[in-house]
Subunit: 342 residues, 4 copies
């Protein structure tokens, strides 16, 4: 690529520390299928960071895979999952959830977040079983697909609501690093573990070659979980490839350092864009931002940079999606800012 | 692990050349989801080795994943796949195929291979549709789960039979390297491509960190294939992780060199075992061997080595499964041979 | 029930002619699984009424069953079906379609009908495969869930649009009788057969004990269709139970006579309701009507009649759903009208 | 049909008392979807006959439908069901169980019955989860597909074994009438209810137009059961069609009277066949018998009768399947016997 890409947060390989760690233990013989010694170490580290030991921890390759395993292992055939319209499972996973037999109940949300108020009409509409599915799980992302994050209060209230209604709360953390290091965040990993039934910690978009951690908090959902990982083709023979990366990311908070960098780069871009008098489509404090720019300017920027044209706003303006990452070079951000100027 | 493991062919990490290649391109920005430039290069290399360009080539993480994607994308809901009783899909994949809705018609085979003669009774038994499933695909492995391999003549005849009966032939090549470099092999990669509808080339068990190539030869099965990869959670954001490894394995025949080493180590063990007067459960010329040893000797060997106790033969003897790999150290093989002696 | 029910069109048993026909052939031995002689006769009658012989015809028990068999047999795993929000498959079938692995793309429609204009945004939104499902089928109902019907021009245009976009058009005719005998209808059974890939003719709601005819017009969808009927548990051993009923309904147009009666009763109610100055929620000319009545009046009516409270309109008014059928007694309609008066 | 058929037990319609009952209540308005008053009555009758009230009772159309609903509602995705090789779900349901995502573990059985001894090797083979499915349900039929029946002791022991191993026992009673009225039977309906987690009572093959009762004894399996009936397309709008038939069959033991007749006819045939010096393939005391007859005699019989050629025994002899039913005419049995004589 000759142009610099802000297209997504997975354009580069892995953080060098990760490659180094993989090399160092490369010739050590280890057990397969996730039973390696590094997996044990990594789980211990994560349990410490969550300040509890009761969650079960698994490592899989990717986000869609994690989502479909979690949802299909938790739900009985007639149960459904509620998601916002921008939820990754709704429109970006090629029907992965439905392919396991489950309906997604979609609710519209302007800021990518779900609330009790948005869920209540769904429950009411589904109050005449057995003619309809039974909503049993709430799916949320943090950060969301539009870059917003949940506050501690919001998460606690949502989890309380889920429990009252005998539903599970599942938090997709493909970009959990970005969320937990956002300037306006007040959640910790411990809070997330205490206020969800199951959640994931994304590695691919924050420094790893690939990998998502699945953390199953709810004891009921833990039963036989590895069978589902295997059945869906997600159990790597060389599980060490995943555990080694997450050990590296979490043993010294590299995970959070990397996410902070991504957020900082996005913040810098945001400030410059607002300074130039442009608006943003959504109030993101994480590594995905959605500036609304005039078409002419966009064409100019596209000579040197790659990004998504997210949404046509009006005849003259388009909202872009610009994504920064752990690997984003500050000099490229500055170049971009320079090009913004008239 | 203090003991040396002959448990499987995925106890170590990756061949160093692979780690090096990953490091070298690490900071280069690339497109995601398998559309990276290295993927294009790798496909060109593989097309050359197959001496044709019409096959479509994809990279996924693991064998069970490849199997379930291939089978579920090829079959309509009422169609089934035929496999031998030792087939990986039959007993080692936690119901992955059935989870996509398809029955496996199991036939018993003593040597892990399937023949026209074994399939005919299945077709006869399923001649009263619509009350039964419709067998539509034949699943084979090369090398098989018991280490045996197909000859060129056997593969050609099986493919001709499949076509006559309007069935697909799918060859699972999780250990294709071992098969194609066996001392008694007469098949080439080109032969495999010409005599199957779809096949895989396993990386995990032959030097890669993870990864299987899916080669779709039959045009009908090519249609929309990427949708199925995505839907089953197998499309890596950083597809480069897979393509880079296979480029390394195939650009200079490293793949075959590694497999040869594994076979050679197994051959050395086989010779020594036979020299001592012991028998083998199956006639393997690849990297999995099944010596039948007396229990006392096994206990002695287990002090220094790890391997599977495969099958109880009689009161005094057990068949072991011993697996060698690209990483097997010759000195350890010699140590093992030494311990065999009375 | 002491009150008279306008709750639905399946509160009574079957038309007496049907029970008589079942009795008459009761002791005749016949082949099972839909291969009975009466099935052959009935297919001939239906082919004549459709003025063509190329459609394949099957009989199953119910509407949800027909819908899930048709959709799951036609679609590959990554393909989806488009439906309006009030579509029966969307909200009234307990996730039956998703349980076979397929997503429903829901579009909002005020009158229960789908148009090219409503579909285009769905196609645009799904233009970035393989990350999304591939919309492959359009599902419509005639009459719709809100009692409206398609004109000949609308159906022809929709079918042309479907073909242009390589999609299938499936018409759910659970209430096809009501549609084809509505006062403003200009469609014939022949038109329906010529302008859909597959459609159903509902028996349960128009005089039968149970039963839906599935008419598969598209040759591609005909392949192996009976396997799907069997696999989904819909192939009755005594298929004669279904064929006998449909022979009776179609040999002398009883089907249309019964539907006309239902429509006439609804029309009579509609006229009286409008005469009293009340409005209707939807412009239905079939056997489901949705009058908006004041709560006080509703309470009065509920002393003698049963019907659904469909939707709260405002503080004082509720839209009801009133359904008439082949069995609705005109005297009960008149009693209802009398009670409407102040 | 000009020839008399012993092909199966569903060649005729329904017992006249059933048609009469359907006619009598035909114009009475009733609630739909199985909530009719007759369903309540019928459940009360069945609870009395089972001498307990805790089982939940449902009515569906057919056997394959009942089987797939029961199995898919009870099992989680990674769980499997064990069946003998002749089990109806194994080879006669077009992959209906696998289509819901579940593997069937097949065990060979010479007499159609399953025992603890046959199951133990399956459990052993599946002792290395999560790489294999988890056997969770035992499926049996009574009478079996080869006409044999379970004794009280056998059923009690099997149920105890299932519970010890945390598995469910499901008894398919498509021909339960024949089993419970066999000359050598010592089981009652109460015994069946007390020694299974779930079972069915077949109507189609014993006098009804269609219909199977599903009796769910295990409280855990009762949860949300109607959702599964709906989702699989098995919830009839006019549920009265099913309940009315079973009320008629059970209010005065008609069900058992009819089954006894079928068995008596089979017994008469069996005696005559043995008297002529022929052998039977299986020791059936119910309404399916499997005489081994010389080909010449078979050709002679086929001039007047229809039956299955079940299995080639040797060059000269074939085992037939002859099925009698509630409707079998004794004079036809006598004609058949006459033709047997040299």
């Amino acid at each position: 690529m000759e142009k610099y890409s802000f297209l997504n947060d997975y354009s580069e390989g892995a953080h060098p520390a990760i490659l180094k760690a993989l090399s160092e233990s490369n010739f050590q013989q280890m057990e397969g299928y996730g039973n390696d010694v590094i997996a044990e170490e990594t789980k211990t580290i994560l349990h410490q960071k969550m300040n509890q030991n009761s969650s079960e921890i698994f490592f899989v390759s990717g986000g869609t895979q994690a989502n479909l395993i979690i949802i299909s292992s938790a739900l009985r055939p007639h149960e459904s999952v509620i998601s916002v319209d921008t939820g990754h499972i709704t429109l970006r996973e090629a029907g992965a959830i439905e392919a396991t037999g489950h309906k997604i109940n979609v609710v519209e949300s302007t800021n990518g977040k779900i609330t009790k108020e948005l869920i209540l009409p769904v429950l009411k509409e589904h109050d005449f079983g057995p003619h309809v599915v039974k909503p049993k799980m709430i799916y949320i992302s943090n950060s969301t697909e539009v870059g917003t994050i949940y506050t501690k209060k919001e998460l606690e209230e949502l989890y309380a609501f889920a429990k009252e209604n005998k539903m599970y709360l599942f938090l997709d953390g493909a970009r959990l690093g970005a969320a937990l290091t956002a300037s306006d965040n007040d959640l910790t990993l411990e809070d997330v573990a205490k206020n969800t039934d199951v959640f994931t910690i994304g590695g691919t978009k924050n420094g790893a070659l690939l990998g998502e951690v699945i953390v199953v908090n709810n004891e009921k959902l833990q039963e036989d979980f590895p069978f589902h990982i295997k059945q869906k083709g997600a159990m790597l023979s060389k599980g060490r490839l995943l555990s080694t990366q997450f050990r590296e990311l979490f043993k010294d908070d590299l995970y959070f350092t990397l996410a902070k960098h991504a957020n900082k780069m996005a913040e810098k871009l945001t400030k410059a864009i607002l300074d130039q008098g442009y608006k943003m489509l959504a109030d993101s404090t994480t590594n995905q931002i959605f500036p609304i720019l005039p078409k002419e300017l966009i064409q100019k920027l596209e000579k040197d940079f790659i990004f998504y044209r997210w949404k046509e706003i009006d005849e003259n303006n388009i909202a872009l999606r610009i994504v920064t990452s752990w690997a984003t070079k500050e000099e490229k951000v500055e170049e971009f800012i320079e090009k913004l100027k008239p």
